[in-house]
């Protein structure tokens, strides 16, 4: 089958790639663009480890076809920090020990960024429901929620 030529933007960089019509954006990011920070935990949209943004909308990249990236703005974990300067959310995850194994962390940080963009002042319950699509098996979520609430407060203070 003929490959499709796609022009898109990833973390601000103009990117073009060839893909099969059935390939997921997750596979292209990981295997063709070598952006392996986005993880695959289930391939069915249940775990959130592959969370990215497409035109600022939070999605599971395992459920997006690569051809759908045409003309869009893609945001991945690799674009969250400013060079080596961590974003507040990343910093708070470290301060609160909100990761153990770290496999869910990239997806969670992308999701938290989307949450705080939509709602800079979430309640604990709102944060828990917004992040219900991001599974973490190590932490019991306690320290993740603390990191999110602390990051929200810090970002509100800085705004």
């Amino acid at each position: 089958m003929a490959k499709v030529h796609v022009n898109t933007t990833v973390n601000g960089d103009a990117v073009e790639f060839l893909c099969n019509p059935g390939e997921t954006l997750l596979d292209i990011l990981r295997n063709d663009l070598q952006l392996t920070g986005t993880k695959e935990g289930c391939g069915s949209g249940d775990c959130g480890a592959c969370s990215i943004t497409v035109d600022d909308r939070l999605v599971c990249s395992c459920l997006v076809l690569a051809v759908e990236a045409e003309g869009k703005k893609i945001g991945t974990i690799e674009g969250v920090a400013d060079k080596d300067q961590l974003n507040v959310i990343q910093q708070k995850f470290l301060e609160h020990a909100a990761l153990q194994c770290g496999i869910c962390t990239p997806g969670l940080i992308v999701s938290v960024q989307a949450l705080l963009k939509e709602n800079p002042n979430p309640t604990e319950e709102q944060a828990r429901y917004y992040l219900a699509g991001n599974l973490c098996r190590c932490t019991g979520y306690d320290k993740i929620i603390r990191a999110v609430m602390d990051a929200a407060e810090t970002m509100r203070g800085a705004a």
Binding site: Q90, Q100, I103, R128, C136, R137, G140, R146
Partner: protein, 756 residues
């Protein structure tokens, strides 16, 4: 939000007990850390497994001709491609396995034993072509009846999985094959005499379902076979030295011809202590002459990696009216999955160990069924047996009208208590945990309507084992800690704190790396809560070795005897004079005083300290639907000494969350033909952020005398108490006994309706 409690003991340490930023944190929050699926090599091809659609069947024939003819297919590998394998017990992760079982679990040998059992592997130039090739393979099966529960498996005339398996541990060796692999009895005192003294006796049988560790990262590896040089395996594992040992053994390679690199690991909980892909990938690499990558799909992880045993456990406990427990008895049945080796015996060893009771007797049955071969799951075997025992203990306390914590305190195991498995307990912290539970704000809080409370203790041994560490000092006085224990939950940070404390040099001065199998001597895997204890001990030994060398260098510079040199806060001091040399100064001039400085700590750690835990759970039950919400939860556990309190709390909270999932929702659902119905995270429902409250923690510190800083392992005990704490809370809320897990809405509703 409530703050978690600080450690109960104000310590005199400078670095230990601080909440430093983990050294691997930057890579992990930026996506730069590389996990099992993240390595690609030039010329690499993709491997996939063909898996059985049946739970139990003979393989009549396999036709791979169409698959082999497909353009892009590079290798097809079946069981017959393995070099000859014979029965031999080998160490894997937290226990031992029979090499022959391991090989037959990797790939079916003429007979499939569970839904998802691997039949062959295909490697092709893309994942898509490998999947297309699988669809072109014709396998002819003769389907056999499946056994899916210990009752069916032990029934007279049950279909037998292994024609040559005869029950071990019976007085007389049986002459017919059976699904019961072994029976083990553990005993102390005389339970009949004990029950004769009891005023109240409670007995019930409990069921716990098959559950999965549920690590978010699927099994994955990238390998390269090299006939003449050194073959390489990159994989996500808790123990890369164990992967090397079993893979080399299966493929008849010497250890020096195989290098295993542990990637960052995306969760394991005991499930990544054996091999599922690596030997097959190497065989495909050998056949194709290309590097091979394999990644399990999520449904393969559920179907064909090792879950935790389903169990049917009968428990009987008797007590006097004054609250003295007189006898404890159990008959435990653990599903092993398709091959022998469930942790039934560990269940028997742990079930009653929180209690100082004279008379105990447990029978442990290891039973094979047509489900995947079980693997270790966090305190393997303990949660199921202790769940049953703790449910009865709570019920007895209620019958005797004694507070459940007071009842546990009255009968609590302590230093000198003789265990059912033989040795007496050394200094342990169960009483301290129970007292902390009793004094917790949580325990003082009144319950509301439709709410219930459960309390449970939990015991796990922890292990020591082989750890090797090299501490290389740099010329500027900083250092690299080279360890071989995969960091599954922040252990690099703990290693740095222990090195810093020993040497008196700031923790940030160190970099910790997890070396591959050829850059450090053998290390047992990360399991049994051993890493901070045993590898930590090795770090301390390596640091002491560095101090010894530094003192010698200072003595040679000052031309004095080394005995007059003190080491204080990272500085050598001449006690007899005023000279001082810092570590940085000694390292900068090391070439002039005898060469570079490097410390070694290669140990087999003894004296692992058991960690007791006590949890309190409050639930609210919707009596219309049977839905259970956890409204407050407190986890209390003896850490011995918390090296990094945040990661200790994290272990308590993570264990609690997994245990709550086990109690409330998680279960493998099979149809009557043994086909798994819920191999995905949508239907196998692990706890979500929206399912849980904050999990309060109390770190109790009763130091382990065998560790330089008093460390006990903390990784496992925390998954034990949630089962009974949560299920008893449900029972308390609905005023009816719970015996079967999970307490999912339909199950709870059925109990409510049956008791109304």
């Amino acid at each position: 939000m409530k703050n978690t409690n600080e450690a109960t003991d104000a310590s005199h340490y400078k670095y230990i007990g601080t909440r430093s930023i983990r050294p691997d944190g930057f890579e992990k929050v930026t996506g730069r850390a590389n996990y099992g699926a993240d390595l690609s090599l030039p010329g690499m091809i993709w491997g996939k497994m063909l898996r059985s659609p049946h739970a139990h069947a003979m393989i009549k024939s396999i036709d791979i001709s169409k698959a082999e003819a497909l353009a892009g297919v590079m290798a097809v590998v079946t069981y017959n491609d393995f070099p000859s394998v014979s029965s031999e017990i080998v160490a894997t992760g937290e226990g031992t396995e029979d090499l022959l079982d391991l090989a037959r679990n990797l790939m079916a040998d003429g007979k499939v034993l569970y839904h998802g059992h691997a039949i062959l592997g295909v490697a092709a130039i893309s994942r898509q072509i490998a999947e297309q090739a699988l669809a072109l393979i014709d396998v002819e099966y003769e389907v056999l009846p499946a056994v899916l529960d210990v009752r069916d498996a032990m029934a007279k005339d049950a279909p037998v999985l292994h024609e040559k398996m005869y029950t071990e541990g019976l007085a007389e060796t049986p002459n017919t094959a059976s699904n019961v692999a072994s029976v083990v009895e553990l005993k102390k005192g005389d339970v009949d005499a004990g029950f004769a003294q009891a005023d109240v006796i409670v007995e019930r049988e409990f069921y716990t379902p098959t559950v999965h560790q549920g690590y978010i990262e699927p099994h994955a590896c990238t390998v390269r076979y090299d006939e003449h040089g050194q073959s390489m395996v990159w994989c996500s594992t808790q123990g890369h030295f164990d992967v090397r040992a079993t893979t080399a053994k299966l493929l008849h390679m010497s250890l020096s011809k195989l290098k295993v690199i542990a990637s960052e690991i995306g969760g394991g909980f005991g499930g990544k202590t054996t091999v599922y892909l690596e030997p097959v990938a190497l065989l495909m690499s050998k056949k194709s002459g290309r590097p091979v990558k394999m990644i399990m799909d999520r449904d393969e992880v559920f179907k064909a990696s090792g879950p935790g045993s389903a169990t049917r456990n009968w428990i009987k406990i008797g007590a006097k009216n004054d609250g003295t427990i007189t006898a404890m008895q159990g008959k435990l049945h653990y599903e092993a999955g398709a091959f022998k080796g469930s942790p039934a015996r560990l269940g028997g060893m742990t079930a009653f160990t929180p209690y100082d009771v004279e008379n105990m007797f447990v029978e442990c049955y290891d039973v094979v069924v047509n489900k995947p071969k079980v693997a270790a799951y966090r305190a393997p075997g303990a949660p199921q047996a202790e769940y049953a025992a703790e449910m009865i203990v709570s019920e007895l306390a209620a019958r005797l009208a004694i507070d459940p914590i007071d009842f546990r305190l009255q009968n609590a195991a302590k230093e000198g208590t003789k265990t059912i498995y033989g040795p007496k307990l050394k200094r342990v912290g169960l009483v301290e945990c129970l007292e902390a539970a009793k004094n917790s704000p949580h325990y003082q809080q009144a319950l509301k309507e439709n709410q219930g409370r459960g309390v449970s203790s939990g015991f796990w041994f922890n292990i020591g084992g082989s750890s090797s560490v090299t501490l290389n000092m740099n010329r500027d006085g900083t250092g690299t800690i080279v360890e071989g224990s995969p960091d599954i939950g922040g252990s690099r940070a703990s290693m740095q704190l222990m090195a810093a404390e020993t040497l008196g040099i700031a923790a940030e001065s160190f970099k910790t790396i997890v070396a591959d199998t050829e850059n450090i001597a053998h290390n047992d895997g990360t399991g049994g809560s051993r890493t901070t204890f045993a590898t930590g001990m090795a770090v301390v030994e390596a640091a002491k070795d560095v101090i010894r060398q530094m003192k010698e260098r200072a003595a040679s510079v000052w031309n004095v005897n080394v005995d007059v040199i003190d080491w204080v806060d990272g500085v050598a001091i001449n006690v007899g004079g005023s000279e001082k040399l810092s570590a940085a100064e000694i390292c900068a001039t090391a070439d002039r005083t005898g060469g570079q400085i490097s410390g070694q700590g290669n140990i087999n750690a003894r004296g692992a300290g058991p960690s007791f835990a006590v949890h309190i759970c409050d639930v609210e039950v919707d009596k219309e639907t049977g839905k259970v919400d956890v409204v407050r939860y407190t986890a209390i556990q003896d850490a011995g000494k918390a090296i990094h309190p945040s990661y200790v709390e994290g272990q308590y909270q993570g264990g609690a969350a997994q245990g709550i999932g086990w109690a409330l929702n998680e279960e493998y659902v099979y149809n009557d033909k043994g086909i798994l119905q819920n191999p995905g995270f949508l239907d196998y429902r692990i706890p979500l952020a929206s399912d849980l409250p904050m999990i309060e923690t109390v770190i109790v510190e009763v130091p382990n005398p065998a560790h330089p800083f008093g460390v006990r392992g903390v990784g496992e005990s925390g998954i034990i108490p949630p089962l009974a704490a949560t299920a008893y809370a449900v029972s308390d809320a609905i005023n009816a006994p719970i015996t079967d897990l999970p307490c999912s809405p339909p199950n709870v509703l059925a109990v409510i309706q049956a008791n109304s």
